[in-house]
Structures are given as C-alpha cells and as structure tokens.
C-alpha cells in the first residue's frame, strides 16, 4: 500500500490549532507564574483569535468556498463553523463566570483555563468531524478535560464524586460509541461518512442489521453526552456537584458539540440505516420530553431544576436532529445559540447568589430578590422566561424553528408532545420568577459582585433579547447552502 500524504488545508485547522497552542502555552506559563489573571486573559485572547480565524472561514464559506482537510474528514462547512462560534461563545462566557468565582471559592489554580480551552477544542473537532474516528477523538479530548473540571473542588465530596460519576458513566458511554463505530466499520469497512454512505448504498450490501445496531449504539453514546432519557441519570448529580461555572460550561459547550456530531451523522448516515435507528431516537425524544419536564417540576433547588431543564432542552434539540435536513440543522444551530446564551446566563446569576460552596440555591433564597437585587432578578427573569419560550426572547424563536422543522419533516405527534410539555416547563421556570417578585425576602441576600460575571450576564441578556427581537439576521446567516457532504 503506497503511503499517501494527507491533504491539509491549514486554514481549516487554524481555529483549532490556536486553541490548542493557547492551552499549551497557558499551561506552561502557569508552571512559572501562578497568577490566574494572566492565564484567564490569555485564554480569552486565544478564544478571540480562534473566533477571528473562524470568521474568516465563515465568510469564505458563505462566498461558496468549500474547505476541508484530510480528505473530507475534517470539515469547515458553514454548519461546522457556525457551531464553532457557539462553542467559542459558550467557552468565553464560562471563563468570564469562572474568574471571580474561583477566587471566592478558593479554587484558584491557573490550570483550570487550559483545561477549558482543551475541552472547547475537542468540541470543535466534534463539530467538524467527517469521520467516525475523528468524532471519537474530539469526544474524548472534550470529555476527559470536563471530567477533571467537574471534580475541581477537590476538598468537597460532592464535586469529587460528581467527577467520578461523570467519568464512570462517560467511559461507559464511550465504550458504547466505540462499539457502535466498530460495528459500522465491520458492516461497511469504512470510517468516513461519505464512504460509509457509499458502502451502505452499494449493491449487494447485506450487513444492514450490523450497521443499524452500530447506529443505535452510537446514538446511545452521544445520547449520554446530551443527556437524553434514559441516559440522563448522571446529569442532575453531576450538574449539582460540579462547580457552577463548570456546570455552565458542560451544559452549553458539551451539549453543542454532541448535537453537532449527532446532526451530521443523522443527516447523512441514518437515513440509509434501518428504520429502527431513527425510530429509537423518536422513542428517546418522547421519553426525554416527558421525564425531563415532569422531573424538573418537582425540584426545589434551582441548580437541580436547571439540570433537568437541560435534559428537557436536549429533547427539543433532538427533535431538530430528527428533521436533520437543512431546516433542522439551521433550527438546531439557532436553538443552541439561544440556549448557550440563556443557560450560561442563568448559571452566571446562580454563581452570584449561592455561597462559596455552591450551597443556597433553594427556591426560598430567591424570595424577594427583586427588591434586594433588582438588576440580578431582572436578568434571571429574562433567562428563565427565555428558557420557558416566552415571545420576544431567543428561546421562543428557537422553539418555533424547531417545531416547524419537525412538522415539516412529518413528526407531528412528537411535536404535539413537545408543545404540551413546554407548558409544564412554564410552571417550573416561572416558579423562581414568582419567588423573586411576589414574595418578601426570607434571607439576607449575599451581596456578591463580580465584574467579569457581570460582563457575562450583560452579554447573555443582550444576546437573548437581541436574538429574540431580531432573529432574522443570524438565521439568514445560517443558510447553510452547500454542505460538503450534501452532494453524495
């Protein structure tokens, strides 16, 4: 077999390489200088530079330039690039939230930021993957860093155990994913998406059972990462146990990356597999919507409620995955953008309200917040209402987009379930709002302030409102046009 050098388009790799080198640089720098301020700034700078490269690629791809590396295995089409923006935004918000928080909680170790960058770069690899091995690599790069981050509060049992639990179940899910990849490889003999599809469509193909089984296993593996019921059990414990900024990071960046990967393989590979593969996702979505929303309803702690709400939102997003044509892809990217802003924003507010050990997120703590901390209460209201899907906020438009994509794809009854459960969701999102505005304070509120967190909250509020009132511009930018894999 002759040795073929891979074709590498360095620009497509630039955002990724920037993040990786910033992470390494920051980790090295942290060896000599324990100032976490410098490292945090370096990390933000790295994210900004990566975003600039990403923007350049995005502009080029809108002009019709289709770029990729390694023979269509690392894609820089508009879908991947839009996801990169969302990932970079989520990581930047998480870092802004983290900075003062870590100081307050006495968890200040500069290695935190390189880990976050590494995790974000893994997420970008997942979004760009056009090959199952690359997908797996991205997933592992992303996950290993997050396992460590969620156990960052070394002295606290909850955090250590959250990390351990996340790791064990994550390794379990990875095993399923790898097994699924192996089965698809066994059936078709290939790893890259175009070749797999070609293999599945080839005449005389007999291994459809093996391939479908592989598809279901991959779905289970990725379903774990996005917390689809019944693979969601880790989510509440890990979300509550991990330090709040890490929870914010997990809930937005990890979810975005896993959905990016899921969307791509669902758009290209799953239609060619047996119906069972798609049907199993339908069942998972129905379960997720019902279990996620109803369990969130009975939670008293806000952080735990937000964890279950994250499960429920995974259900709405998976609805877009089902309709994974152009419309579904656009809807999902839009939804994830909105979700990143409002969810990260909600967790940011939470860091200012709970004490240094992340305790005190009970509903009662929210009572009368509108009087004691009016701006914080207003921001939290914006995020919660947006998560609930109230009009003129970003979450509403996301829901409309997802629902119309799903109806167009013919999943009407599933959409009905989604819309009805979203009423249930209103109740648990509005409950904290009612506590904040309709009750008298029961506790002396913490007067924690932090400039960087305030910046993050400001960005999130601004984005949530702007996207809600003028959704058109971002949505029209997501007109994915020609995808690299579409012409197969």
């Amino acid at each position: 077999m002759p040795l073929v050098l891979p074709d590498i388009d360095w620009l497509t790799l630039a955002p990724l390489l920037v993040l990786l080198s910033t992470a390494s640089l920051a980790a090295l720098y942290a060896l000599y200088n324990r100032s976490s301020k410098a490292v945090a700034l370096l990390a933000l700078l790295g994210l900004a530079v990566a975003a600039i490269f990403n923007l350049q690629l995005f502009v080029a791809s809108r002009a019709g330039e289709l770029r990729s590396s390694f023979g269509l295995r690392y894609l820089a089409d508009q879908g991947a690039l839009a996801f990169n923006f969302v990932i970079l935004l989520g990581a930047a918000l998480a870092i802004l939230i983290s900075y003062d928080y870590l100081k307050r909680a006495e968890l200040e170790q500069p290695e935190y930021y390189p880990l976050m960058l590494l995790s974000a770069s893994g997420a970008m690899v997942m979004a760009a993957a056009g090959d199952l091995i690359i997908l797996l690599l991205g997933l592992e790069i992303m996950s290993l860093a997050v396992y460590v981050l969620s156990a960052w509060r070394q002295q606290a049992r909850e955090s250590a155990e959250a990390g351990m639990k996340y790791f064990l179940l994550g390794a379990f899910a990875s095993a399923f994913l790898i097994y699924g990849i192996a089965l698809i490889y066994g059936a078709t003999g290939f790893f890259s998406y175009p070749q797999i599809v070609a293999g599945l469509l080839a005449e005389g193909f007999e291994q459809i059972f093996l391939a479908t089984l592989g598809g279901i296993m991959i779905l289970a593996g990725l379903g774990f990462k996005v917390a689809l019921v019944p693979f969601h059990q880790w989510a509440p414990d890990v979300y509550t146990g991990a330090p709040t900024p890490v929870t914010a990071f997990m809930s937005v960046v990890v979810k975005t990356a896993a959905f990016a990967a899921l969307l791509r393989i669902f758009a290209f590979i799953y239609p060619e597999l047996g119906v069972l593969a798609v049907q199993s996702l339908v069942v998972l979505i129905a379960l997720t919507l019902i279990v996620g929303n109803f369990t969130a309803l009975v939670q008293r702690g806000i952080k735990r409620m937000l964890a279950y709400s994250a499960v429920a939102h995974a259900g709405y997003l998976a609805l877009a995955v089902l309709a994974a044509g152009n419309l579904g892809m656009r809807a999902a990217i839009w939804y994830l953008t909105a979700y990143t802003l409002m969810n990260a924003g909600a967790f940011a507010v939470l860091t200012l309200l709970s004490d240094r050990n992340d305790h005190g997120d009970d509903l009662e703590r929210f009572a009368g917040l509108a009087r004691s901390r009016p701006y914080l209460a207003a921001a939290m209201t914006v995020f919660l209402l947006s998560l609930a899907g109230i009009p003129l906020l970003a979450g509403f438009v996301g829901k409309i987009l997802v629902f119309s994509a799903a109806i167009e794809a013919g999943y009407v009854s599933l959409t009905v379930i989604a819309i009805i459960t979203s009423v249930v969701a209103m109740v648990y999102y509005l409950r904290p709002v009612m506590y904040m505005y309709f009750r008298e304070p029961e506790y002396e509120p913490l007067q924690t302030n932090s400039r960087s967190t305030h910046i993050a909250i400001g960005i999130a509020v601004f984005g949530t409102v702007l996207l809600g009132i003028f959704p058109g511009w971002w949505y029209s930018l997501l007109d994915l046009g020609q995808s690299l894999l579409a012409g197969l």
């Binding site: 396992y147 460590v148 790791f167 192996a182």
Partner: protein, 100 residues
C-alpha cells in the same frame, strides 16, 4: 476454521462480561477494570475486522482505542484517588448518596 463471526462473538461475549462487571461491582478499581474489558472487547472486534478486510484503517483505529483507554485510565485513577482520599473507601456506595 475460524471466521470473522467467531471473533465478533468473542468480542460480544467480552463486552457482555465488561458490562456485567461495570454494573455489578462495587469496588471502583474493579469498575475501572471493567471499563478496560469493554474497550478490549471492541479492540478484538476491530482487529479481527481489519484482518479479514485486509485494511490498515482498522489497525489504526485499534491504536486509537488503546490510546484512548490509556488516557481514560489516567484521568479515572486521578479522580478515584481524590474520592478515596475524601471518603476513605474505594466503593461506589458513597456516590449513591447524591441521589437523595
């Protein structure tokens, strides 16, 4: 004569053993070992498929799996040590407490 299906069956059996271990063991180290068995089960599959298809791709994937397994164990043991230091025991029982 050994066929591909024999290897796939062996892989499936090993995977089942790993799964059983993961779900039934209480000791964290044993659980970590079960994860390893899971990954090795897949490894058997992949190598066999690569051999029977006469492709290098599968072998490369096998190498990736080994590397990933190593990285996972490294992180896993670190997390395990942390839990062990705090709880003084090496079982999953304290983890259950979080479920409330």
């Amino acid at each position: 004569m050994l066929t591909l299906n024999h290897f796939l069956a062996l892989g499936a059996i090993l995977f089942a053993i790993g799964l059983y271990g993961l779900l039934s063991r209480r000791n964290l180290v044993a659980i970590l070992m079960s994860v390893e068995i899971l990954l090795n089960a897949i490894l058997v599959n992949v190598v066999a498929i690569a051999r029977f298809n006469d492709q290098a791709q599968g072998d490369v994937f096998a190498l990736f799996i080994i590397a990933i397994a190593a990285a996972e164990v490294a992180v896993g043991l670190a997390l395990f040590l942390n839990v062990f230091r705090l709880n003084g025991v090496a079982t999953v029982d304290p983890l259950r407490r979080m479920k409330e």
